[in-house]
Symmetry: C2
Subunit: 260 residues, 2 copies
DNA sequence: GCAAAAGTGTTCTTCGTACACCCATGA
DNA sequence: TCATGGGTGTACGAAGAACACTTTTGC
C-alpha cells in the first residue's frame, strides 16, 4: 500500500471537506466537533471532515466523513464555500470545501481519526485546528443570511414544540432577542405552523379588528363569555408542529423572506 | 518537461477556477466568454479560468487566469462556490472553484488557451463547455441576492452617469422593471450618490412637505418662480457619480439592505 | 409646439415595532 | 393567591407601491 503512487504531470493539491453541524439544545447553539486522534493538531478540536475520494462529489464526501467520524448520518448539506489559503494545512497543500447542516442533537461518538465527538457551545469554543475557526465564522454568516430566506426549525426541534421554544432557537441563531408577541405573529403569518393539539390546519389568527371590537364592547356590558371555551383560544404551552408541505415549499420559494 | 511527475500516496483531483465576469452595455448584462483554442471542447465558448498553482489561492488563480486569457485585470472576485460533479471534466477529475466579478466593458482579447474573448449577452448565450452554464446560473443567483446587501454600479458604470442609466443597470441585473420615481427616491436615500454637475454633496431631497405646501400656495396666487432658476431643480439628463466613501462603507456594512 | 424622457411630490397600504391585556398554571 | 409565563389584540410610524404633475429636450 505504501508504495502505491498516483502521478500527475502537474502538481495537484489535495481536496478535503469540512462540516459545520449546528444543533440546538433549547437554549444555545452548539456545533459538532471532534477531538483529533492523529497529527497534525492531535488532541485538538476540529470540524469533522476529510479527504475526498475520486468517485464522490464534495457533498457526498462531507456526508461520508461526518458519518465515519461522528456516527451522524445526514442527507443534505449546504455549501459554504472553498477555503484555499496556501498554508492552511501543514502537511501539504489542501483545499477544503466546507458545508453546514442543521441536525437534532442526537448521541454522537468518535470514530476513525476522531478520538471523540462532542456538541460544543458556540459561546465556548476551544482553540481549533487548521482554519476551522474561520470556517465556523463563515458558516455563521451564511446561516444568518439564509435564515431570512428559508425557515429553519424542522431539522432542529422535536416534532412538536412550543412557540417559546421556536423563538429561543431563532434568538440563538441570530444572537438577538425578539418581542414574544411579534415573533408569534410573524411565525403564524408564514403559514408553516400547524396547531398540534387539535388537528386544525389554519389556526385562528390575529387582526380581526371589526369582530373583536364588538366583542370587547359586549364584554364591557357584561356579555362576557369567559374566553377560551367559546373562541378556541390556545392554552398556555400548547404545541405546534411544522406543516411539512408548506415548510418545504417555503424552502424552495425564491420569494420567501422573513424580516426581522 | 513531459517527464516531470508529481506523485502522491492518494489520488488527488485537479483544482481549477472559473470566472463569471459581468459587464453592462447600457441595456443588458453581458458576460465575458472565451472561445476555447484547445481540446476538450475546442472551438466552444467557455468561462475564462484554469488550473491552480500550488503557491496561489483560488482567488489569485482566477485573477491570473482571467488576465492571461482575456487581458482583463481585476483585483477582487467574489466566490460563488465549488463545483465537484465527478464527470464535469472529460480529461480527469477536476474540482472547480467559481467566482464572479463586475467590470467595465473594456476591450478584451484572446490569449493563452483562448482563441478569442468576447462580451456575450446573457440573453443570447451559446452552448457552453463543461458545466459552465450551471456556474453562470449560480452566479446570477448569487449576484441577485448580493445586490440587496451591497450597492453595485461603481464597477459597471462610467464615472458619471444619469439616474436612468443606473436604473437600467439594476433592471438588467434583477430582470425586473422599476417605477422610475421610486427608484430615484430609494437611490437618493442611500446617500451613496453625489450630484456630479455642481459639487453638492447632499443633493436636495424629497419629502419637504411643509415648505412645498406653502410654495404651492404661493404659486397658486401668482408668486410663481419659473422653477429651476430659484429652487435648484436638476436638469433633464443631469449626471450623478458615486460617493466612493459612502459606497465602500455600504459594501462593508452588514446592516445595509436595499429593498425592491 | 408637441411628444417623450426625466425631475419632483403625494397618497395609500403594508408591515415592523412597541406596548396592553388577560388567562393559565403551579408554587 | 400571586407571580410568572404565554396567548391575543391594538396603535403608531417607517417604508414600499402606485400614481400626478411639471420641466426639459429634440424634432
Amino acid at each position: 500500500m505504501k508504495n502505491e503512487k498516483y502521478t500527475y504531470k502537474y502538481p495537484h493539491p489535495a481536496v478535503a471537506t469540512d462540516c459545520v453541524v449546528f444543533g440546538f439544545d433549547g437554549h444555545e447553539m452548539r456545533i459538532l466537533l471532534i477531538e483529533r486522534g492523529i497529527d497534525p493538531y492531535k488532541g485538538m478540536w476540529a470540524l469533522p471532515g476529510g479527504f475526498m475520494n475520486m468517485d464522490e462529489t464534495a457533498e457526498e464526501c462531507a456526508i461520508r466523513e461526518l458519518s465515519e467520524e461522528t456516527g451522524l448520518k445526514l442527507s443534505h448539506l449546504t455549501q459554504i464555500g472553498a477555503f484555499s489559503a496556501v498554508n492552511r494545512d501543514p502537511r501539504e497543500r489542501v483545499v477544503s470545501i466546507a458545508f453546514y447542516a442543521l441536525a437534532k442533537k442526537t448521541e454522537v461518538k468518535g470514530g476513525d481519526d476522531a478520538k471523540s465527538a462532542k456538541w460544543i457551545s458556540l459561546n465556548d469554543l476551544p482553540p481549533l485546528a487548521f482554519d476551522h475557526e474561520l470556517i465556523i465564522r463563515k458558516a455563521l454568516d451564511k446561516i444568518r443570511t439564509d435564515i431570512h430566506f428559508e425557515p429553519i426549525g424542522f431539522e432542529l426541534l422535536d416534532k412538536e414544540f412550543t412557540m417559546p421554544e421556536l423563538q429561543r432557537l431563532y434568538e440563538a441563531v441570530l444572537g438577538i432577542l425578539f418581542d414574544r408577541r411579534n415573533f408569534y405573529k410573524k411565525m403564524m403569518q408564514t403559514g408553516i405552523l400547524k396547531d398540534s393539539d387539535n388537528d386544525v390546519e389554519q389556526p385562528s389568527f390575529f387582526g380581526k379588528n371589526k369582530e373583536m371590537r364588538t366583542k370587547d364592547i359586549d364584554a364591557l356590558f357584561g356579555g362576557r363569555k369567559t374566553s377560551h371555551e367559546e373562541d378556541g383560544r390556545r392554552r398556555k404551552g400548547s404545541k405546534f408542529s411544522f406543516d411539512k408541505k408548506q415548510y418545504d415549499k417555503f424552502k424552495e420559494d425564491h420569494n420567501f423572506r422573513l424580516e426581522f
